[in-house]
């Protein structure tokens, strides 16, 4: 199937009501090493995915399907999908 390459970011977080041991551990560590202002920390996953899709809407549909099927465990996790500017390069810079 021919289509242009879309770049998207999928973010997966533990559900709010569910315990997030990793977030808690990181929060405690940050407080210990001198960031007393830190409140809540939630630790999740981020996936940067490039895929061929006819158009953004199809892409988004597919990405949600990927989350349901594989990327997120919806029993304990929530996910969100955002399409990035179609530039080949990622938004991440040090």
């Amino acid at each position: 199937m021919i289509g242009k390459s879309v770049k998207a970011r999928v973010t997966v977080y533990p559900r709010r009501e569910i315990l997030d041991p990793q977030g808690k551990a990181i929060r405690d560590a940050l407080t210990r090493v001198g960031f007393p202002g830190v409140g809540d920390v939630r630790a999740g996953k981020s996936f940067e995915i490039s895929l061929d899709a006819a158009d953004p809407r199809t892409a988004e549909g597919q990405l949600r399907e990927m989350c349901e099927k594989l990327l997120a465990n919806t029993v304990v996790e929530d996910y969100s999908v955002e399409l990035l500017a179609e530039s080949a390069e990622s938004g991440i810079r040090p």
Binding site: E17, I18, L19, D20, P21, A25, N73, V75, V76
Partner: protein
């Protein structure tokens, strides 16, 4: 911030959280008034099958629970046996089937976490875990996901805790497609005089809460474990509990240290029905009352109601009763380990549990009537109508080519090496592991002594479904056999009895028969039952699992210096077959896996013969006469012989077997293969004769081929090829 709106209390709402009409009435009689919502929730948890054993109690009484080694039988968090040199072993097994089916990773994690807390609340340091797993057909929906998640979860918890998972069992059968079984076993050791009990005492003594904060996790997990699966189970998702093995590791170290202060009266983990069962059981056992100030319970998020606080199953939490005036000593230890401690109440003499919250009484109920006097049921029992038909002797097709049959069996997940699983478990941490997963029984060094601990996990659900009584006895007998292969004398067993819905007469019959079979075997083989767990309602849309009484048995090896291997050590050893060979195929793997036939009464279990065999094997090991010992079980002679060729360096053998064809796969019980140096052969045969165990030399080890003469035929296969099939089958089947 949200506060749940509480439904009004009546027989309707009572049923909605698992209390029957009669139980609701019983509660009203006990209280002499209508309960409030919190009291109703507390009662429904305490009277759930999971917490009260109301359908199984009358049968469990049949188990022999006493023995020369037993210091603590069923009734505490875990059983305690004497293992010599001033040490005791504390062990138990528990199920986490339903949570693991809903969320395999967290479900199995919290299963391991729960059983470990049961061990260290008794003052013992956990040194080993085992896991008994039953999955459906690998191609069934979600099954690969479930297998992967469960294995990751069990490893994830034990590995982080630094407790080796040294053994277990894995079975696959379509009866588990909609209801997998995850049973976790843990064993700890303690000095004789250091064992702790969960028995509250001393009016005025403070009740301390330690560990993680309380959230809404797992509310009504206990009642959930007491219901069948249906589409609504999906809606039960919020009850998923999340495990934090790191917090538990810290909790473990802090608890053991705090116990040494001598300032702790009683301690109990918060498992199923969290704060409710822990406090009520502690007070119930001690015959005291207690007052809890729920405003002091540490919360993860604001707005929890008393109902939610009392029923939350947030993990990694403990309650303990400290000696009045010595709280500080205890609290200091937990703070040093970075754990939160809260003084949430005190022990009273009223025999009642009084909970206050925001200046009001949230609940006020008598403790003993709700714990010790929980309802007990004698459910109707009925033998299946088609039993005679099921027992009809099966037609046994002869294998066209025994070698091909062997290769096909070795390639099934059932017989394939389980290395893919246990390689994801740390089985060498703590440096006690003399023999890890892969043998008949795991062997652990008891540091500072010449002796060792052995443990194994066994059951054959197909046997149990065709003849629960024989199946129950066979599970115990096989465990004894596996222990004997490493020279271990059994000191006790724990079990996890996984069954369907006990309100069905046939299920209650299965349960009664299994318990009777197990009890008979335990008596003859003198193995006391020191702890255990019952898991009912393992069924999906009316289809119930096969009765699956997982048996975990522990034994002591007086001296480790003569430990044999489960596989052949060196070429030129003489191979001896112990026990009697008959043609028995009821419920056999040969018929099930090669001919898709489940039919006939399972093999006879001759308990006296098993006893003679076990004594003989222990004697042979003790005298250092044998290099190899491996028992015959599922799959019969040829499977066990092949397994014995799969050592670190695969090694062949040439043998002659009296029976031919399909009989190579007959599952006659009470048999084992041993191998010894030629010079020891006469003494081995002599010992067998004195023990009254049939024994014959059948061949010798060596070469890189497995060669079996039986009847007129000769089967011969390169061990390397058999090993390749056996060792790669499971990952292949999983599509990895």
């Amino acid at each position: 911030m949200t506060v749940a709106v509480e439904p009004e209390v009546n027989a309707e709402t009572a049923r909605s959280i698992g209390l029957t009409e009669e139980e609701y009435e019983r509660l009203r009689k006990i209280l002499g008034r209508d309960p409030n919502w919190t009291e109703l929730g507390i009662t429904s948890a305490l009277w759930s099958e999971h917490c009260s054993y109301k359908s199984s109690k009358i049968y469990l009484r049949e188990f022999p629970t006493e023995g020369p080694h037993v210091l603590q039988g069923p009734g505490e968090n875990a059983g305690v046996v004497d293992i010599g040199h001033g040490w005791v072993a504390v062990f138990k097994m528990e199920s986490h089937n339903h949570p693991s089916f809903i969320e395999p990773y967290q479900g199995s994690m919290t299963g391991v976490g729960g059983i470990l807390r049961d061990i260290f609340t008794m003052g013992a340091r956990p040194i080993a875990c085992m896991d008994a797993l039953r999955f459906g057909e690998i191609d069934a929906p979600r099954m690969r996901f479930l297998i992967d998640g469960v294995v990751r979860g069990i490893g994830g918890y034990g590995n982080c805790m630094g407790i080796p998972t040294v053994g277990g069992e894995t079975g696959f059968h379509r009866c588990y497609n909609g209801n997998i079984l995850v049973n976790a076993f843990a064993l700890g050791v303690a000095r004789h005089d250091r064992v702790f009990h969960a028995r509250a005492s001393g009016a005025g003594n403070p009740v301390l809460y330690v560990g993680s904060r309380t959230g809404r996790d797992g509310i009504h997990g206990a009642t959930m474990a007491s219901e069948s699966f249906d589409k609504e189970s999906e809606q039960k998702r919020p009850t998923v509990q999340v495990g934090d093995p790191f917090t538990e590791k810290v909790l473990l170290e802090a608890c053991l240290e705090a116990m040494r202060t001598g300032a702790i009266v009683a301690i109990q983990d918060m498992g199923a029905a969290g704060l409710t069962s822990s406090t009520f059981e502690m007070a119930g056992r001690g015959g005291t009352g207690l007052h809890l100030d729920l405003d002091k319970v540490p919360l993860r998020q604001p707005g929890l109601t008393p109902y939610e606080m009392m029923l939350s199953e947030s993990q990694e939490r403990m309650v303990l009763v400290a000696k009045k005036g010595r709280e500080e000593e205890v609290e200091k230890v937990f703070r040093r380990w970075g754990l939160e401690v809260a003084d949430i109440g005190e022990i009273t003499t009223t025999g009642r549990a009084v909970l206050t919250w925001q200046g009001e009484t949230a609940a006020d109920v008598p403790i003993q009537p709700l714990t010790e006097e929980a309802p007990v049921y004698r459910r109707p029992v009925a033998e299946p109508a088609d039993l005679a038909e099921r027992w009809r002797a099966p037609e046994v097709p002869q294998p066209a080519d025994p070698r091909e049959a062997l290769e096909r069996l070795l390639a099934t997940p059932e017989f394939a090496s389980k290395r893919w699983i246990w390689q994801q478990y740390d089985h060498t941490v703590r440096t006690n592991t003399v023999q890890g997963p892969g043998g008949d029984a795991a062997v652990l060094l008891l540091k500072g002594t010449p002796s060792g601990l052995a443990m194994t996990c066994d059951v054959n659900p197909v046997y149990c479904s065709f003849d629960p009584r024989r199946g129950g006895a066979q599970a115990v007998a096989e465990a004894v056999r596996n222990l004997a292969c490493v020279g271990a004398e059994p000191v006790g067993l724990t079990d996890c009895l996984n069954f369907g819905n006990p309100e069905r007469p046939e299920i209650s019959w299965q349960f009664r028969e299994v318990v009777r079979g197990m009890s008979e075997a335990c008596r003859t083989l003198s193995v006391p039952v020191i702890s255990g767990n019952v898991s009912f309602y393992n069924e999906t849309e009316g289809a119930s699992i096969y009765p699956t009484p997982a048996v975990a048995m522990v034994g002591v090896i007086p001296d480790l210096s003569n430990l044999p291997d489960p596989w052949f050590q060196c070429a030129g050893d003489r191979i001896v077959l112990l026990g009697e060979d008959r043609s028995e195929f009821g419920g056999s793997a040969y018929l099930r896996l090669l001919h898709d036939l489940e039919q006939g009464r399972p093999p006879e279990v001759d308990l006296d013969a098993e006893l003679r065999l076990a004594r003989l094997l222990r004697g042979l090991v003790a005298r250092g006469l044998i290099h190899t010992a491996h028992d015959l079980s599922e799959g019969g002679f040829l499977i066990s012989l092949a397994e014995a060729c799969f050592g670190r360096r695969p090694l062949g053998a040439r043998v002659e077997f009296p029976l031919a064809g399909a009989d190579l796969f007959s599952e006659t019980q009470g048999r084992a293969i041993v191998a010894c140096a030629p010079a020891a052969l006469d003494r081995v045969l002599q010992a067998a004769e004195e023990a009254g165990v049939p024994a014959r030399e059948i061949g010798e080890t060596g070469g890189d081929e497995l060669v079996v003469k039986s009847g007129g035929e000769i089967l011969s296969a390169p061990v390397s090829r058999l090993h390749e099939i056996w060792s790669t089958a499971l990952p292949k089947a999983l599509g990895l």
